[in-house]
Symmetry: C2
Subunit: 213 residues, 2 copies
Amino acid sequence: MSYKQVPLVVIKRLPRYHRYLGELLKNNVSRISSTDLSEKMGVTASQIRQDLNFFGGFGQQGYGYNVEMLYNRVSSILGLDKGYKTIIIGCGNLGHALANYTGFANRGFTLCAMFDTDKEKIGTEIAGLTVKPCSELEEYIKLEKPDIAILAVPKTAVVSVADEIVSYGIKALWNFAYVDLNLPGDVTVENVHLSDSLMTLSYRMSENKGNDF
Amino acid sequence: MSYKQVPLVVIKRLPRYHRYLGELLKNNVSRISSTDLSEKMGVTASQIRQDLNFFGGFGQQGYGYNVEMLYNRVSSILGLDKGYKTIIIGCGNLGHALANYTGFANRGFTLCAMFDTDKEKIGTEIAGLTVKPCSELEEYIKLEKPDIAILAVPKTAVVSVADEIVSYGIKALWNFAYVDLNLPGDVTVENVHLSDSLMTLSYRMSENKGNDF
C-alpha cells in the first residue's frame, strides 16, 4: 500500500499514536474507542478517526479500535518492524546520551557500533560497545551495511563526515549538528536542530500560546 | 502586533530563517532577494514572500530584503531579544551536552544554574557552573526567577519534577523526557521527543520519501 497522499501533519502524529498505543498494550488494554484515545492524546476524536482512516480505517462502530492490531499497523507504517541497524559517529556527551537511550532499542533500532576520532575515546566502552576509530568507518560500513548513521559530531565536521559515509553506502542519516546537509536524493536525512526547538519555545512564550501546538 | 493568524507551519520555519539570515549577516551580506534566499533555504521564492508577508512584508521590488532588519525582526518575533534565563535539571550525558552547547547562548538564552539529585554530580563543574542539589530548586527559582527549565531527567522522574518547579513559579519547560506533560495552561511546554524524530526518519526510509519533508 502507498501512503503518498497522507499529509505530513498526520505522519508527524504517527509516533505519538505509536507511543500511546504501546502504553495501552503494556497495560493490557485490548481495545479503545476513538473518544478514549482522543482524551489520552489531547486531540479530537474526529481527528483521530480521520488520521487513522488514511491507513485503512480499522475502527468498528460500537467496538472501537483493536489496540494490538493498530499498534502493529502503525509500527509497520513507520518501518519499525524492519530492524534497522544504527551506528553513532561522535562519542561526546550527546553521542553518549544517545547510545544509552534504551527507547531506541525498544523500537527496533539496534546500535551496532560507535566511532570517534579522539584517541582518548577510542577503545573506551559505551553502552557495551568499544568505540572504534573513524578510520575504520569505510571497512565497517561496506562490510556490515548499517542502515542509519547517527551524527553527533561538531558542526564543523558534519559535512565532510556525511559526504564520506554516504560514499561508503549509508542511505540514512540522523543529524544532530546545526547544519542542513545537501546529499543525493536517495539519502534520507532527518535533522534534529535543538536550537530550532528552543526558539519555538521562546516564540510560544512571548506569544503566550499555551500548549496546543 | 499580534501574530495569532500565522499558521504553525510558518512559525516552524522561522528558526530556519533566523539561522540562514544569521549566516548571511556573519558573511557581511546586507541584502538578499527572495530568489537567492529561496535557493539557500531550498524552498520556493513565492513561499518565502508569503511567509515574510505574515510579519509585515519587508521586501522591496528590485531591492530585496534588508538582511539585518529581517534578522532582527525574526529574532524579535521569536522572542530571542528577551534574554531568557535558563536552568538545566538533570546533569547526565544529555544535560551535560546541552550545557556545553554554545548555540543557545548565541541566541540569547543564558544558562544560570544546573541541578541534580546524584551526590556524585552535585558540586562538580559543568560549563563553568557548579551543579546544585535539587533540594535547592525552590529557593533558587523563587529568588532568581529563571524563565525556562530544561528537563534532562529520566522519564520516571519528569512528571514530579515538572509539577514541583511549576509550583515554584516556572512558566516554561523544555522537556527531553519521552512523556507528554499535563500542566496548567499558562505553562508553555516544548517537548523534544527524540524517538519521534527517529521514527519519522524510519518512516521516510521505508517510503523512500527523499528530503522534502
